[in-house]
C-alpha cells in the first residue's frame, strides 16, 4: 500500500528541481501538493517497490501494509549508505531485526 508521509519530516525536497520521491516512482504516483508536501496520488496503484522510501533524504516515507492484509503495526526502514544498505525491521511484537550488506562493489 502507499507510503505513509510524515508531514513534519517532509520538506518537499526544496533544494531539488523535482522532489526525489516524485522523480523515482516507477508508477508516477508520488506528487507534491500545493502545500509542498508529498503524497501518493493513487494509493490503489502503488506496487510497494519502496523506491520512493529509499530515495527520500528526510526519512519521511514509510511503507505500510494495508490493514486488510496485516496487523497494526510493523515497520521496515531502509538506510542508504555508501555502497551499503541497512534495513531495520520491527515486527508486530516489537522484535527488531537488522540487516546490513553491500549493494555495490565486492567485499574483496
Amino acid at each position: 500500500m502507499p507510503p505513509k508521509v510524515d508531514r513534519e519530516k517532509c520538506d518537499g525536497c526544496k533544494a531539488e528541481k523535482e522532489s526525489l520521491c516524485e522523480q523515482v516512482c516507477p508508477g508516477d504516483l508520488m506528487h507534491l501538493g500545493e502545500d509542498q508536501k508529498a503524497f501518493c496520488r493513487m494509493p490503489r496503484d502503488c506496487w510497494d517497490c519502496m523506491s520512493c522510501i529509499k530515495a527520500c533524504p528526510k526519512g519521511a516515507l514509510e511503507t505500510r501494509i494495508p490493514y486488510q492484509l496485516g496487523y497494526h503495526v510493523a515497520r521496515l526502514i531502509p538506510m542508504m549508505g555508501t555502497n551499503t544498505i541497512t534495513w531495520t525491521c520491527i515486527d508486530l511484537n516489537g522484535k527488531v531485526e537488522r540487516y546490513q550488506y553491500r549493494n555495490r562493489g565486492s567485499d574483496d
Binding site: 502503488c46 511503507t63 525491521c89 555495490r104
Partner: protein
C-alpha cells in the same frame, strides 16, 4: 513538480527529435541495448524513451536477489544444456531454439558485465558465482536498476525520462521511430529514428489481481504493474506479427501479498504442501518430475489442491533454522522488500508456521514464456526497422535478468547493422497530427466531461478477462463460449474508448494504458481461442479441450489486418535443434 496541462489542441507543444537508434523502454533489456550499441559504434546517436525515470523503472525497480540464468561451465553447463532446461520448463515447447541458443551463447559475458559495473555477486568457497538452483546465481541486487541505468548514461545514451511511447512512427510498412507524451511537460514527442528497439517489458493488469478483492490494492501484482503491454500494442496496431500470446505466465506466489515462491522452494528447499500435510508434487506429480516439474505444473498444483478441497496450500518453511530464515529474509529484502514487512505485520515466524501460497493473476511476459513479437535471429520483428528484446520479444522463454540483457545486446547488434543502409524519409505530418489528436483527446475532453476514466475501464476489462478468459478466480479455466463472450465485450470496450477523459497528465497516461491493454487483450483472446487443446495446464487450460492435440505442436501467430482491423491467425512450425526428449531438462 508543477505540471503543464494543455487546455486546447493548439497549446500542445511538439518536441521533434532525430536519432540513429531509438530504444523504447529503458529497462533491463533497454539499458543493455544502449550500452551495446554505443560499444559497437560510439558515434551512433542512441536515444532512450522511458516512461518512468530510468534509475528505478520496470521489473527490476525494487532490486533482485538472483540472476536466474547463468552457466556454471565448471559444472558442465553449456548453452545447449540451458536451452534444454528452458524447453522442459515450458513442457517441451514449442520454443525458438535458434533464439534461445544465440542468447545463451552471450549470457555469461552479459552477466559478468553486471559484476564489472559494480553489482555484488555472492561467491562460493572456490570463488565461483554462488548457485542457488541449477542455473540461478545469488546476488545482492538492490542497486541492479540504478547500476544498469548509470552505465547506459555513461556510455552516452540520451535519456528522455517520463516520456511515454504511444505509437510507432511508420513509413509504409517500415518503422522509423515512435511518438509519445511527456507526462511532466505535457508535450507531444516525435522521435524519428533509423532503427527502433522496443523493450517496454511485458503486460501486467490485463487480468484482475486476487488482492484487489481483499484490500483494494490493485497493484499487489508480481510483475511490474506499470508495464502495461504498450510495446506489444504498438506493434499490433502497426500490423507486426505476435507469437504465442496464449502461453501466459502465471506463477505460484505467497498468498495475500504477492511474494516470491521460487526463492523459498528452489533456493531454500521449502516444499509445496497441502492442508493434509502431503508433499503435493511428490504425491500427485511424481511422473511430471515432482518438485522439479515444469513451471506450469508447479503453478497449477496448489490451485488444483484448493479446487479439490485440499487447500490451503503452503511452502513448508518449518524445515528452516532461525539462521536460514534470516538469510531468506535478507534475500527477500533485495527483491520484494515489502514482503518482509508483510510477514512482520503478521508476527509470522516462518520456522514455526509455513507460508501460504496461491496463484497470481496471468501476465504476458516474453522473458518468462514465449509470448511476444515474432523476431528473426537479429531480433528484428516482421516490421522492418523495428527490433524487440526482453519481455517484449517472443519465442524465447526463461530469459529473466541475464537473458533479457543478452537479448538487448543482440537486438542492438541487429539494429547497428541495419542503420548502416537507412535514410530517414521526410516527416509525415498527417500521421503525426493524427496521433497527437488521438493521444490528447481524453485530456481535451476536460475534467467535466460525462464519460469514463481509464481506471473505470481498466477494472471493467480486468474482471471480464478474469471471469471469461481464464483468470485466477476461475482457476485459469476457460472454454470457447466464455472466450467469445470476452471478445464481444472487448469490442464494446474498445468502441467506448471514445468516452475516455482525464483531468491531468497522470490520468491521461492511465487512459492511454487501458487502450493498450485492450488491444493486447483482444489479440490474446484470439490466441487462446486458436489453441483448441490444453498444452500448459494453468497457463492455458481449455475445459472443452482438456488434452494435448499433436497437430498444434507449432507456434500460434497473429497479425492485425491493416485494412479491416480483423485479427488474422496462422501458425509457424517448430524446429528442434537440440536433440532429445523435449520434456526432459
Amino acid at each position: 513538480m508543477a505540471q503543464t496541462i494543455p487546455k486546447d489542441f493548439n497549446e500542445i507543444q511538439s518536441e521533434m527529435i532525430e536519432t540513429d537508434l531509438l530504444i523504447v523502454g529503458g529497462g533491463n533489456a533497454g539499458c543493455f541495448a544502449a550500452v551495446e550499441a554505443k560499444t559497437k559504434n560510439p558515434s551512433l546517436k542512441v536515444t532512450i524513451m522511458e516512461k518512468a525515470h530510468i534509475s528505478r523503472s520496470g521489473a527490476t525497480a525494487a532490486g533482485m536477489d538472483a540472476i536466474n540464468t547463468y552457466l556454471r561451465t565448471d559444472k558442465g553447463e553449456t548453452p545447449e544444456s540451458l536451452v534444454k532446461w528452458s524447453r522442459a520448463q515450458v513442457g517441451g515447447g514449442p520454443i525458438r531454439e535458434d533464439l534461445a541458443l544465440s542468447n545463451a551463447k552471450i549470457l555469461n559475458e552479459t552477466v559478468d558485465m553486471l559484476e564489472e559495473w559494480g553489482l555484488p555477486f555472492v561467491k562460493d568457497e572456490e570463488g565461483h558465482k554462488q548457485l542457488r538452483g541449477r542455473f540461478d546465481v545469488s546476488i545482492h541486487g538492490e542497486q541492479l536498476k540504478p547500476i544498469m541505468a548509470e552505465k547506459a548514461m555513461e556510455m552516452g545514451a540520451q535519456v528522455l525520462n517520463r516520456v511515454v511511447a504511444t505509437n510507432l512512427l511508420m513509413d509504409g510498412d517500415r518503422c522509423i521511430g515512435a511518438m509519445g507524451i511527456g507526462v511532466r511537460d505535457g508535450k507531444f514527442y516525435v522521435i524519428r529514428a533509423k532503427a527502433t528497439i522496443v523493450s517496454t517489458g511485458g503486460a501486467c493488469g490485463i487480468y484482475k489481481s486476487p488482492t484487489t478483492d481483499y484490500s483494494g490494492a490493485h497493484h499487489q501484482t508480481w510483475m511490474c504493474p506499470f508495464n502495461v503491454g504498450t510495446g506489444y500494442a504498438m506493434g499490433i496496431r502497426a500490423g507486426a506479427e505476435m507469437s504465442s500470446l496464449e502461453q501466459r505466465w502465471v506463477a505460484t506466489r505467497t498468498k495475500d501479498f504477492s511474494g516470491p515462491v521460487d526463492t523459498l522452494s528452489v533456493a531454500f528447499g521449502c516444499l509445496i504442501t497441502n492442508a493434509k500435510g502431503e508433499r503435493v508434487m511428490q504425491v500427485r506429480y511424481a511422473d511430471k518430475g515432482g518438485d522439479k516439474a515444469a513451471r506450469f505444473y508447479r503453478l497449477n498444483a496448489p490451485m488444483t489442491e484448493w479446487l479439490e478441497g485440499r487447500g490451503p496450500t503452503y511452502v513448508d518453511t518449518t524445515v528452516l533454522s532461525q539462521e536460514d530464515a534470516k538469510d531468506l529474509r535478507e534475500d527477500l529484502l533485495n527483491e520484494r522488500p515489502s514482503f518482509v514487512l508483510f510477514l512482520a505485520s503478521r508476527g509470522h515466524d516462518i520456522t514455526k508456521e509455513p507460508v501460504e501460497i496461491y496463484g497470481s493473476d496471468p501476465y504476458i511476459v516474453g522473458g518468462h514464456t514465449g509470448s511476444g513479437y515474432w523476431v528473426d535471429i537479429n531480433r528484428m520483428t516482421t516490421t522492418p526497422g523495428l527490433f524487440a528484446a526482453g519481455e517484449t520479444a517472443g519465442g524465447n522463454p526463461n530469459k529473466f535478468v541475464g537473458g533479457c540483457g543478452a537479448e538487448g545486446r543482440l537486438a542492438a547488434r541487429g539494429a547497428v547493422e541495419y542503420v548502416k543502409n537507412v535514410k530517414l524519409p521526410a516527416l509525415d505530418k498527417a500521421q503525426v497530427e493524427k496521433e497527437k489528436e488521438r493521444v490528447f483527446a481524453p485530456l481535451l475532453r476536460g475534467p467535466e466531461y460525462d464519460g469514463v476514466t481509464g481506471i473505470e475501464m481498466e477494472e471493467r476489462m480486468q474482471r471480464l478477462m478474469d471471469e471469461y478468459a481464464g483468470g485466477i478466480h476461475q482457476f485459469y479455466r476457460m472454454n470457447e463460449e466464455r472466450l467469445d463472450h470476452a471478445l464481444k465485450n472487448l469490442k464494446m470496450l474498445k468502441d467506448q474508448t471514445k468516452y475516455l477523459y482525464a483531468k491531468d497528465l497522470h490520468e491521461l497516461m492511465n487512459a492511454l494504458e487501458v487502450i493498450d491493454r485492450l488491444d493486447v487483450a483482444e489479440v490474446l483472446v484470439h490466441h487462446l481461442k486458436y489453441r483448441k487443446e490444453t498444452r500448459w495446464p494453468g497457463w492455458q487450460t481449455r475445459m472443452d479441450y482438456p488434452d494435448v492435440d499433436p497437430k498444434l505442436d507449432c507456434f500460434v501467430e497473429s497479425r492485425r489486418d491493416q485494412k479491416t482491423g480483423e485479427i488474422q491467425m496462422s501458425t509457424r512450425p517448430y524446429e528442434q535443434i537440440i536433440p532429445g526428449d523435449r520434456t526432459k531438462p
